[in-house]
Symmetry: C2
Subunit: 334 residues, 2 copies
């Protein structure tokens, strides 16, 4: 494993500094942290702060920008940001209308963002939070609050950003964002591990011909370890899980994300969509929009996930609002 890194110095700090140097027209640091702020952030509205462990780029910093988050609170590699830097980040963007936090549902993040909300309270900053738990392979539906947040984070952030832009109150932004969170599900599949930057250690072990359905971004257990299969069989299985989970039917209109986990190529991800499209068409599900991106990664991990967001008219309006960051631009191409 050859990682292109320095011999010394903090890996996350150098990476964030590089990102800020390249995109300095758009972003600046929250002083003395690895957190970033969009220079042209919202004024006079509810602010949106996202965050979590580093190592999953472009998530989270790549989703700060126009129509998206005002700031991201970035932790160390695979580790939650601490309550102090989350609070500093919220203070840097608060406009007196309240701050919504969106993050993946992980124990460390839950603890630290909860403490940050307490600290914000001492500073008279109104807060609320949405924990994304889209990974339907990570726990049964009855224990939905044990599920992990993965690629579904991104569409939840997208919808929340548009709701903030629309000038809604914190309570209303929270309602809309929870609606997005409650209508999104993801299932992933791992073919090979990523490595932990700086440690040169794989994040998990998988045999030469093994794959695991539902494996988490950091190697958390999935729902089935099996042998490698052709993509049509992989997508069949994954679509069935999502269909059952979401009771998908021909009345549904959805936004879809095929997300690469790191080293899986676009030739492969496009082929995943080629197979997925057959299911969606044959079931009569209306695809309002689709993306094929490597947005929520775990270093050079191999594999992909499929995310489906069920839309109603309200969610569609916010999903369709334009947005722009170095990694996510949504405007009418036509």
């Amino acid at each position: 494993m050859k990682k292109i890194l320095n011999r010394s110095g903090d890996i996350v700090t150098q990476s964030i500094q590089g990102f800020l140097a390249a995109y300095d027209k758009y972003f600046e640091a929250v002083p003395e942290t690895n957190c970033i702020v969009y220079k042209n952030r919202r004024k006079g509205k509810v602010s949106l702060v996202i965050g979590g462990g580093s190592g999953h780029e472009p998530l989270f910093s790549g989703f700060v920008g126009k129509g998206l988050a005002d700031a991201s609170a970035n932790g160390n590699i695979f580790a939650s940001p601490n309550p102090q830097v989350i609070t500093e980040t919220a203070k840097a963007v608060d406009e007196g209308k309240g701050v919504l936090f969106i993050y993946g549902n992980y124990e460390g993040d839950n603890l630290n963002f909860d403490m940050a909300e307490e600290m914000c309270g001492f500073e008279d900053i109104k807060t609320a939070h949405v924990r994304v738990w889209d990974d339907c392979a990570s726990a049964p539906k009855e224990r939905i609050e044990d599920r992990r947040g993965i690629a579904g984070d991104i569409y939840v952030i997208k919808v929340a950003g548009a709701a903030c832009d629309a000038g809604l109150s914190l309570e209303e932004v929270l309602r809309v964002t929870e609606k997005a969170r409650d209508n999104i599900n993801t299932i992933g599949l791992a073919t090979s591990p990523g490595s932990i930057p700086g440690l040169n250690k794989p994040t998990f072990e998988l045999g030469e011909d093994e794959i695991e359905f539902g494996m988490g971004m950091h190697g958390e257990p999935g729902i089935e370890r099996t042998t490698m299969k052709p993509v049509d069989e992989l997508v069949d299985r994954m679509y069935d899980e999502l269909k059952r989970e979401m009771s998908l039917n021909s009345d549904d209109e959805v936004a879809v994300l095929v997300n690469g986990l790191g080293s899986t190529t676009l030739v492969e991800l496009n082929t995943v969509y080629y197979e997925l499209d057959k299911h969606l068409k044959s079931e009569g599900i209306k695809v309002h929009d689709a993306e094929i991106k490597s947005w929520c990664t775990c270093q050079e991990m191999g594999g992909f996930s499929i995310t489906i967001l069920r839309l109603d008219e309200e969610l569609k309006k916010y999903y369709d609002a334009s947005c722009c960051s170095p990694y996510y631009a949504r405007e009418a191409l036509i």
Copy 2:
């Protein structure tokens, strides 16, 4: 090597069909080919057609869109499109104002695009071409026409697209595009091979601790094979090559692209920019714009390249024009 592909069927066709299914609002196929056309392509202006071998995604199809190319002619994996499909693609977008072809300077592409231009001539379609040869490690300056085209393709396409949009004549679009091509250089570095989809074969061999400066996308020889080094030393060496090649100095204003070759993560690519930024700043070079992307890849190849485009007022105007495709959006975030 576990590639997420089908047991049978054409790999490129399935991949392109998947891309078209996901982005069907924007693109359609040139009938009976793997070539794609932007549905809202230019009207009454010079048309821009790009192309080359598949396997380097998002290049080329990812750079078809608003302000970019009208169409891409896509070959098989690592193989040039044939003259017939190039001609069909040109016919699908020609508006009687002429078609400019942009492609990387490879023997197969040169031959096939030349034949396509002849065939277009029989159909009374006026054509011109620009071969991109930005890879300064692939041949000495005196034999510039032996150099390969790599990530520099993208900014050349960007400038050309804006020149087409501006309503310039074919001769003028050609002049501007050649100016971009003549002011762009790239140097790459390989840390590990990609694999050939369908063959499960690495594209080249590199030892456990070996890297190669200047190695081509398909494993073509570079300028030095050496042991792995920390990123500051890698970037030092690469910046020196570009500086000498381009005689970079403090009068220069540039656009920069740090491009990942496939599996190299954003933590690493951001760190490359962190080091590169020190050189650019200490030399007083004005960075007009920068991107950190994996735009020109070779499957899961490891490594990166650095591209520098020297700008004058004319090139800057075209570089700055807005553009939008699923992979390249340029609009003022601010």
